[in-house]
């Protein structure tokens, strides 16, 4: 973002070092924070919701300052924000840019929806683990009980509805 026009449109200032997550479908920024397990104690985080986007119409943006996240952690966003692009910022410049892609396995982000699954027993210390299957749509399959978790299930769960 070097032109004067774009600078003027900025709602929040540029960050020096950190991660900018752009092209998040509008309304999903809070779920993005949840997936990345960011709870507010990590440093400066900026959220822009319903910004104009040529590609998406409306989009959300999350800027996280001074925090490192692995590509694996960031790729989990593909479940709830498949259009998201990641910009890694060093000294105000984008040093790496990539589109999130589905990981092969998802561990500990979402819960299995089967109440009889061992991963849902409060007394047992077991991390829900899912394999990503590529059917008509991507779907998560619990590695303990085989139950499917759809993208709709994941969104509802992370939004706190289930």
């Amino acid at each position: 973002m070097s032109s004067k026009v774009q600078e003027r449109d900025l709602i929040v200032s540029k960050i020096r070092d950190g991660i900018v997550i752009d092209h998040i479908p509008a309304g999903r920024a809070l779920i993005v924070l949840r997936v990345l397990k960011l709870r507010g104690g990590e440093g400066r985080i900026a959220l822009v919701m319903n910004a104009d986007s040529r590609r998406l119409g409306r989009k959300d943006i999350v800027k996280i300052e001074g925090k490192e996240l692995s590509e694996g952690e960031l790729n989990l966003l593909s479940l709830i924000a498949p259009t998201a692009t990641i910009n890694i910022i060093r000294d105000y410049s984008v040093v790496k840019k990539f589109q999130v892609k589905l990981p092969e396995t998802v561990k500990g982000v979402v819960k299995c929806r089967n109440p009889k699954c061992i991963t849902n027993q409060p007394r047992e210390d077991v991390v829900p683990t899912f394999k990503v299957l590529h059917l008509d749509q991507p779907i998560l399959q619990c590695q303990y009980c085989g139950t499917y978790l759809t993208i709709d299930d994941i969104n509802a769960q992370l939004a706190g509805e289930r």
């Binding site: 061992i118 027993q121 007394r123 077991v126 009980c145 085989g146």
Partner: protein, 306 residues
């Protein structure tokens, strides 16, 4: 992959080569199923049965004793510290330190995998949740192989509860290693889950779904019957309406191939008529008897290696 120290959690963990090795070993073990081999002398098998079982538990115990090993464990939740509130994880840690192999049955889905995550010794799933009973599936496939000398090119009908009967998923997963035609017959509400249908599609298996046994009876080489439980039906009237269509009797087998074999994991209630027992089709008692050599082979391969 070598069998030594391997967990047996799901049928999916085993390929055709593994299974053929197991079957050949089991056939060898048939010679010793009524005598004694001392190849596992000094080894201890722990049975952790959080759910009742007759055949599976006793055949595992008989297999271990025939191999010269010893057995400890419990056969119900009431007989274990779980009744005092101990977690499954802690119970497994204890058994892990007392034994060389753990055989587990549990009502929760994924309990065996979780036990294997914790234990350092091999864990064998003797049935968990509603979808996994891999050693029963191995036994079923072994019985078919013993009867026909092959599994490929057979048409296998599976009749009954295809949704909640734990052996059905395991058996279908196991049969995906062979070139079989599956005919899956069940009431509408007990059809296989989407997860299992997707699995069969992904593996390119040949299968079809039916509501009536008569549609497929004449082409079957194997008819595998599983029990339909009344409590699966929200409406008891619906159960009464369909139950007759899922029972097998000498009369219902008119027009079948001479070589047809009828299998059942047992216990049966009334889905296989007792009058069928004396016919040439009935192989379920033989199937159950083969449980000992099959499990002897399994224990030998896991504890002693190939």
């Amino acid at each position: 992959m070598t069998w030594l120290n391997r967990d047996v959690i799901s049928s999916l963990d085993f390929n055709r080569e593994d299974l053929m090795q197991l079957f050949n070993e089991a056939q060898e073990m048939e010679n010793y199923a009524k005598s004694k081999l001392n190849i596992l002398d000094g080894k201890i098998m722990a049975t952790a049965f959080f759910e009742p079982s007759t055949r599976t538990r006793l055949s595992f115990e008989a297999a271990m004793l025939r191999l010269g090993g010893r057995v400890l464990g419990f056969g119900s939740v009431e007989a274990s510290s779980v009744a005092k509130g101990e977690s499954l994880g802690d119970t497994i840690r204890m058994l892990d330190s007392y034994s060389d192999v753990i055989v587990i049955r549990h009502s929760l889905e994924g309990a065996a995998k979780y036990a294997a995550d914790i234990a350092t010794v091999p864990v064998i799933n003797a049935g968990d949740g509603t979808q996994n009973h891999p050693t029963q599936a191995m036994l079923d496939a072994y019985t078919i192989w013993r009867e026909y000398g092959r599994i490929d090119d057979l048409t296998i009908g599976i009749l009954g509860d295809l949704r909640y009967a734990r052996v059905v998923t395991s058996l279908i997963q196991l049969l995906s290693n062979f070139k079989v035609k599956l005919r899956l017959i069940s009431p509408e509400i007990l059809k296989p889950r989407r997860e299992l249908l997707d699995f069969m599609n992904m593996r390119g298996m040949s299968y079809s779904l039916h509501l009536n046994l008569n549609e497929v009876l004449s082409e079957l080489d194997v008819l595998y019957v599983v029990r339909i439980q009344r409590e699966r039906f929200p409406d008891p009237v619906e159960y009464e309406r369909v139950k007759g269509s899922f029972k097998v009797s000498p009369e219902s087998l008119i027009g079948v191939k001479d070589t047809l074999i009828v299998l059942h994991p047992l216990p049966r209630v009334d889905e296989v008529d007792h009058r069928l027992d004396s016919t040439r089709y009935a192989k379920y008692f033989k199937q159950s008897a083969l449980g000992v050599p099959l499990r002897m082979a399994l224990l030998k391969l896991i504890l002693k290696g190939d």
